[in-house]
Symmetry: C2
Subunit: 434 residues, 2 copies
């Protein structure tokens, strides 16, 4: 880590800048996969599965027996842990929709709003050496709580054509019954356009590699909604002299092990703490299986010494991290000042891994500074709102003249006429035409 | 309008399909404007203003005297109408944030969520012959209610270098104090990247022509949030024999007058109503100044006869219109079955122009079928949510083991270690290190 002491504010833009990732080079590759799946459907999906996942599949969908046997292949310890996480995530996400209070904005003019589940959603779970079953929980639980009518899940199969049993166990537990063994850009294409086997969806969720991300970006142009564009994971730690250097080091490492492009930003008011955290990192890193990733990530990261906690908070707000750990005195008070972050871990004991797995909050969070304008996933991400209005005769008498004046001023005479024709139809008295 | 009687369900996809608009041709033009503004800032903005708006500007920002004189140039009638609309929009949009109820998901594990205003937002108001002051209200009111710290507005100036006084009056009324005379793709570029004069923003709102829309799409790739990609405006009317044909015709025309690419879909259970609406349209259209637009739009639109109201509702749900008018018996009951629409007008008297201007609902709505997954603008669009968690020692004892098991199963050992190190530090008893 590079240590920066008391940097001037006009150098902060440089400190909070993320490394630039060029995606232009994969644009045409992804765009060709999308076009191909759109044109050839399942055949194209199978071809890319053969090419990228090295697997020849007759059945693209996970079968009932495959689902059924999944639970047998997992330890009880892991099953129990997943049940604990599921319960917490459900409890936290299960906030009732704030539905339909009718507002009478003018006498006789009633407006209300209804939150409605998105009917069809697709959830993407990345493949790789380990099962990312925690992503299954984070996507499928809010989808089910929202009440989406059709929830389909996608993940690339292993070389033997199977999906990891932990992934299937978690999916089943969360009510997912349609699961396709398709990964990469071709999975996103299948969700967006549909094939003979795969139903198309209205919104696509879930993280993935740069091909998946680019495919999401491209189909979003074609009108399919997406949750967000995931970048490399990141954490900021804001700590004062009351922080525990052993814990802080462990937290920075748990972020850094994600991959060489992970980002950590360590902001502290204590020079001594920075020193102790750096030596702790050296000590702890030696035993980590993913040590190489962590070393590369830390190499590109900064430890920043600031004059006081408020300055530090200003800096993390400017950074707008995906995860923010606040290990300071009166951490809850400091947390009230957070305006840009995805998820915040308050105090010495709230480690990021708690939120990654089981505290109850969602781990699908805005990266790359986008927490300035975006939220992490919640049940709302699986819904949209519809507004409604009804107007009585009295209401149109009250409001109509204002609408007429404004429509005329905007040069939209048919808009005016839609009101005038109604007002004229009442005349002054009751009118049988209604 | 083309009349389609009792179409089979497998032909609906064709009926609800929107005309395809090719945007590829303007991609490179827009991308060049963005790059240029990014590189040359205000100079580039001025150059494009000269080229596209035909105006040479020294000051890009609206001055205090310009704001001050705006109110003098508008009739009292219009000022009053705008005040009525503002009051209604404020009343409807002013729903308090559902903040921070703390949920104890496991004994000792506390999670909560806070809704926070996006700090910097940019609002785009299209130019043209008439002032689109209603767009000012629909964007600036929720921005102010959300509590955005910095709200800047953009609109292309007229040939005399001025912004329409109604636009300025409405902007001022809604608390907008920074207003830039910049339009088109260069306005979006200035908001996204900032220039010497123009501050950059985190999220860009507002409709515009295809250059503005394409620019929003392109900057969204660079990480700037956008509200939505606006397509041509559209309405669906669902009506039975109780509907008033004069009103229905007026509503269809008020949509059709927006432009030749506007879409209307008229769905009815009554053959007779369709006939009467078509003749009413012929009668009413003759007096409309924007008759030519309306005729072209109607030419490409369908009137569909269905067997019953439920089938009609299924069809409009599949169409997922921006606006939906329900002119049937028991319209409120029918409205409960709406799952895909932007804003719904319930009953014979709720004309679309009411929502366009003054009922209180927002008129910035998802078009082109995107109401399947997107909502119209609300105060929430100007905010994001942040999740928080704090964990007591008891909480980590309860939850820690589950996190350890799951992190290990995902092969993320540093994630596990962040928990283990903390649990070890307590030992079984109190531990001074905390």
């Amino acid at each position: 880590m590079k240590v920066i002491k008391y940097p001037a504010r006009d150098t902060w833009t440089e400190i909070v800048r993320r490394p630039y990732h060029d995606c232009d080079s994969i644009d045409p590759i992804v765009s060709q996969i999308l076009d191909d799946v759109r044109a050839r459907g399942d055949d194209a999906v199978r071809d890319y599965g053969r090419r990228f996942d090295g697997v020849e599949l007759l059945d693209l969908e996970v079968s009932a027996p495959e689902f059924a046997s999944a639970a047998n292949d997992i330890s009880d310890e892991l099953k129990n842990a997943i049940l604990v996480a599921k319960k917490n995530i459900e409890t936290f996400h299960n906030v009732p929709f704030e539905d339909g209070r009718e507002v009478e904005t003018t006498d006789g003019v009633f407006c209300w709003r209804r939150r409605v589940a998105i009917e069809k959603v697709g959830l993407y779970v990345p493949g790789g050496t380990a099962s990312l079953f925690s992503t299954v929980l984070m996507l499928a639980i809010p989808a089910r709580l929202a009440g989406c009518r059709e929830t389909v899940m996608f993940s690339p199969p292993a070389g033997d054509g199977k999906i990891n049993p932990v992934t299937l166990y978690a999916a089943q537990l969360c009510g997912v019954t349609k699961f396709y063994k398709i990964g990469g850009a071709q999975a996103i294409a299948a969700m967006a356009y549909g094939t003979k086997t795969v139903p198309s969806v209205y919104k696509i969720f879930g993280p993935g590699n740069q091909f998946v991300t680019e495919a999401k970006r491209q189909v979003s142009r074609a009108g399919v909604a997406i949750d967000m564009l995931a970048g490399p994971s990141e954490v900021a730690v804001l700590a004062d002299e009351t922080a525990n250097p052993t814990f802080v080091a462990a937290d920075l490492l748990s972020q850094a092990e994600h991959g060489p492009d992970s980002q950590v930003l360590f902001v502290s008011t204590s020079d001594q703490l920075i020193d102790r955290v750096l030596s702790e990192i050296k000590r702890q890193i030696t035993t980590l299986p993913r040590r190489e990733y962590a070393e590369q990530a830390l190499c590109q990261s900064n430890a920043v010494l600031v004059g006081d906690v408020n300055t530090g908070l200003d800096l993390t707000n400017e950074y707008a991290p995906e995860h923010l750990i606040i290990a300071t005195e009166l951490a809850e008070e400091v947390a009230r000042g957070v305006v840009n972050a995805g998820s915040v871990f308050v105090g010495n004991l709230a480690c990021e891994s708690a939120g990654d797995y089981a505290s109850g909050t969602n781990h699908t969070l805005p990266t790359n500074g986008s927490s300035r304008a975006f939220s992490g996933l919640s049940v709302e991400s699986f819904t949209k709102t519809i507004t409604f209005q009804r107007i009585t005769r009295e209401g149109l008498r009250n409001l109509g003249p204002s609408i007429e004046v404004m429509a005329r001023a905007e040069g939209l005479n048919a808009h005016e006429q839609a009101v005038s024709i109604r007002l004229e139809s009442f005349g002054g008295a009751e009118c049988s035409i209604l």
